[in-house]
Amino acid sequence: MSLWLAVIFGIAFGFIMQRVGAFEYENIINALRLKDLTIPKFMLMSVAITTVGIFSLRSLGLVSLDLIVYNPVADILGGLIFGIGFAFAGYCPGTSIGAMGEGKRDAAFTVIGGIFGVFTYTLLQQYTGISTTAFDMGKINLADLIHLNSFSLAVVYSIILVAVIFLVDRWEQNRQNSNLKGVNINV
């Protein structure tokens, strides 16, 4: 039952990402080139909504958190390597899978590259014993750092996110307008 629910959630997740254009190489690359921030706005918007939702449900005891351990070395190193890969592929691990479902051949190669990446990482881990666990700082979120009750903090956090999204959006629109003006003058 739970596994079928996973398929349904996956279909909905894939469908939404497809509709917003997250499976398009162009949209990811143009986000990284700061030319079209549709996808980052979409992601942060979903985060703002989910945060208020789950922290409300959590105060009713209906939802429990499942945080990934905070490890500054692993998060920064992993994130930097991920970022370089992101710019080469134009997909992330999830969107490459969906884009492969759409029949994009390059996305399938990103998935295959990913499998080789996991394989290489695991071999290195197995035979060299390299590990970042020494830097694990525990499963912490902002509520552990800021002494405010977590629901109020979640509301403030979401408001700040939405404000940032709309400021970014305004900035993009202004830039677009001034670009248009520039074109008119040149013509």
Partner: protein, 174 residues
């Protein structure tokens, strides 16, 4: 492209979907599915190379042994979701090479596949080091106000932006 949803409605839709996922007691993520798939492949071809305990330890396994997990089925759903969206909106077949890439690097399909492969390789190395990807660290993690998710997101863009700008820098005029 008029059939696209705006970032506002898509963001709200994903936000609500994610609340239901949390309510079901699960969490978004795709890295685990990659690790499990790799685990299956390795076990099939070379069971001695990497002991099964390596696959089941840490972020990839959890309780007992390699198994088709919730996240693996989620990934199956993502494939179907992409396919259904394409059928439903009768999208025409995507060009073999993304137009933007072609404009910059020329009509070289094989080089595009090499870039895509290298990209995927680095994406998953990074994900395994950091213990998560865009879905788990950013969409799911940042929704829980996780410090790890915010730091990961900042690092992704700190490397991704200069790399993309470098790949797409204007060719020197000759």
């Amino acid at each position: 492209m008029s059939s696209r949803w705006s970032w506002t409605s898509s963001g709200i839709a994903l936000g609500i979907l994610n609340i239901f996922i949390f309510l079901s007691g699960n969490h978004l993520g795709t890295t685990t599915a990659y690790a499990q798939t790799t685990g299956y492949i390795t076990q099939f071809f070379a069971p001695q190379l990497i002991p099964i305990s390596t696959w089941t330890a840490g972020t990839c396994g959890g309780s007992g042994g390699l198994q088709v997990s919730w996240q693996w089925m989620l990934v199956v759903g993502i494939v179907i979701g992409g396919f259904v969206g394409k059928l439903l909106y009768r999208l025409k077949k995507a060009p073999e090479i993304p137009a933007l890439w072609k404009e910059r690097f020329g009509n070289r399909p094989q080089l595009r596949l090499v870039h895509a492969f290298i990209g995927g390789f680095l994406l998953l190395i990074g994900s395994r080091i950091a213990g998560g990807c865009t879905s788990s660290h950013i969409i799911s993690g940042m929704s829980q106000m996780a410090v790890s998710g915010m730091l990961f997101a900042a690092a992704v863009f700190a490397a991704g932006i200069p790399t993309a700008l470098l790949l797409y820098r204007r060719k020197a005029q000759s």
